[in-house]
Amino acid sequence: MKKQSLPELQKICSQLRRDVLRMVHAVQSGHPGAPLGCAEYFVALYFDQLNHNPDFQMNGKGEDLFFLSNGHLSAGWYSVLARSGYFPVAELKTFRKLNSRLQGHPATHEHLPGIRIASGSLGQGLSVALGVAQTKKLDKDSSLVHVLMGDGELQEGQVWEAAMYAAHYGMDNVIATVDYNGQQIDGPTVKIMDLKNLKAKWEAFGWEVIETKEGNDLAAVIAGLEKAKSLTGKGKPILNLLYTEMGYGVDFMVGTHKWHGSPPNDEQLALALGQLEETLGDY
């Protein structure tokens, strides 16, 4: 895929946000907050970082792979997959509807191209990513495996089982990113279950940790992922702490957990879309 300029990529971010809001609004269900905050990450990955093939093959041999562990960001993932050619953009209108391939949370059962494992029940994606990464090592396949987790998701014990495994086996072909927005469904993470010093935690588990402080600045996100890539192949798994703001891009949605799992009504949608330029054509 030909690399695009920053302004071109910005346009995709804006469109992704429109897609997400229109999708959750249409079915009055879903999770708009976190995918709005991760738009830059999704676009940076699929349009700049990943060496991937939209002619989907499940085993992903020779390709960089991405796994969405926090499956409730499905609307954002579906948008970026459609916008990068995995399936028709028009199919976004089936999100969460009966007989759709775009399930509420990502699934393989309906054979949606781009999805390799179901996610939604939290804490499982890092383990799966490590399994594929281990397979790549066995097959002498030098491509990389990315996985995104929520910060609240790190409260799940399985994540730390996987963290221990990754360091023990020197899984240096894995880049795990944490959407560090400080929010979870019941409120701010510091109130619900304080994550304390995440950087120190991952370092203590034997990971190489980088921090992307401006997780909603596209250039910074790309630079962070480039840095992460440069650290692969050195015997340690890479953790990218991506500081984002939940609901970023819409002034009344940003920085609160209120929009974690609530759709906008008609009026709110109109207000939000007014702040986001339609750049690639709505589905």
């Binding site: 179901a118 383990s127 790549k136 014990g157």
Partner: protein, 320 residues
């Protein structure tokens, strides 16, 4: 007086060794076969594979949830992972991981579960899982297999390596009679009629197939001719074989080292109630946990041995 058994044995061995030997052979046959184990390599008899194929074997430490996720990832990358631990930790502890990452995601993962049931013995109820077959059979896409002796377990292990799809393979710890042939063909989903009979059918699975063979001889001494069917595959269940047998005998007994709730007996009852509501009696654990003891003591105390199968057969016959 010794019983006139239709099947006999000269050697006893644990079914987990059948798994270990089958796993090694599967690994030799197919380079895509890989192994994972959560700190129980010796108990699962996975050591020979690990020694021969160290690069294809992954010790995960005591972290079963991660092991299931790893296996799912390896499967989607094209490998055939065999993930082994005790049946308790291979099911209840990781039910959600199996449900989402393996069954719902249709991943070719083989969940290999040892030390199932009461015959685990002295370790007691914390480890004696009696609910695993039920949990696994409820999952869509999951194939559930519970072989009866060393030879059948080895054959089953080789068969699941060639089958594409998630499988739960259950085996155990005790030294047990080897009464089925070496190098047998194992057909997933195909019940095996071991003994022909006309009065009552005994459907048995796992270690209790041997108890059913003994029970058949005991019943024959009282001129009751039982048919013994080895249900090594709990799911998909060979309903055709079940219905054909019960059509002939008119009543049945199910025998399993598992809770009555959710076990093989439940599956057979579902089949019979729909097509031929003949009397069915159950041999299994009746809504209780196990305890420490020897396998033989436990099978006796919880009503799972040959004598109990004989009693159940007579109850079934009386209801005809």
């Amino acid at each position: 007086m010794s019983l006139d058994l239709k099947y006999t044995y000269t050697e006893k061995k644990d079914t987990r060794s059948g798994f270990g030997d089958g796993f090694l052979e599967a690994g030799r046959k197919n380079p895509n076969v890989v192994g994972l184990c959560a700190d129980l390599i010796g108990s699962l008899k996975m050591g020979d594979f690990q020694k021969e194929f160290p690069e294809r074997f992954f010790q995960t430490g005591i972290a079963e949830a991660n092991m299931i996720g790893l296996a799912a990832g390896m499967a989607l990358g094209g490998k055939i992972p065999f993930a082994g631990t005790f049946a308790n930790f291979a099911t209840g502890r990781v039910y959600d991981q199996i449900r989402q990452s393996v069954a719902y995601s249709d991943k070719n993962v083989k969940i290999c579960a040892s030390h199932a049931g009461l015959t685990l013995g002295e370790d007691g109820a914390t480890h004696q899982i009696l609910e695993d077959l039920g949990m696994m059979k409820m999952l869509p896409h999951m194939t559930v297999i519970n072989p009866c002796d060393y030879n059948q377990t080895k054959a089953a292990t080789l068969a699941i390596a060639e089958y594409e799809g998630p499988v739960y393979l259950r085996f155990g710890r005790p030294s047990w009679p080897i009464f089925t042939p070496a190098n047998q063909k194992f057909e997933i989903g195909k019940a095996w009629k071991m003994i022909d009979g006309k009065d009552v059918t005994i459907f048995a699975t796992g270690h209790l197939v041997w108890e059913a063979v003994v029970a058949e001889a005991m019943l024959r001494e009282e001129d009751i001719h039982a048919e013994v069917i080895n249900i090594h595959t709990i799911k998909p269940l060979d309903t055709e074989a079940i219905l054909e047998s019960v059509k002939k005998t008119g009543c049945a007994v199910s025998a399993e080292e598992h809770q009555l709730n959710g076990g093989l007996g439940d599956s057979i009852a579902q089949t019979l109630i729909r097509h031929n509501p003949a009397p069915l009696e159950y041999v299994g654990v009746n809504d209780s946990f196990g305890e420490s003891g020897t396998p033989t003591q436990l099978l006796e105390k919880y009503g799972l041995n040959a004598e109990n199968i004989v009693k159940a057969a007579k109850r079934a016959l009386a209801r005809k």
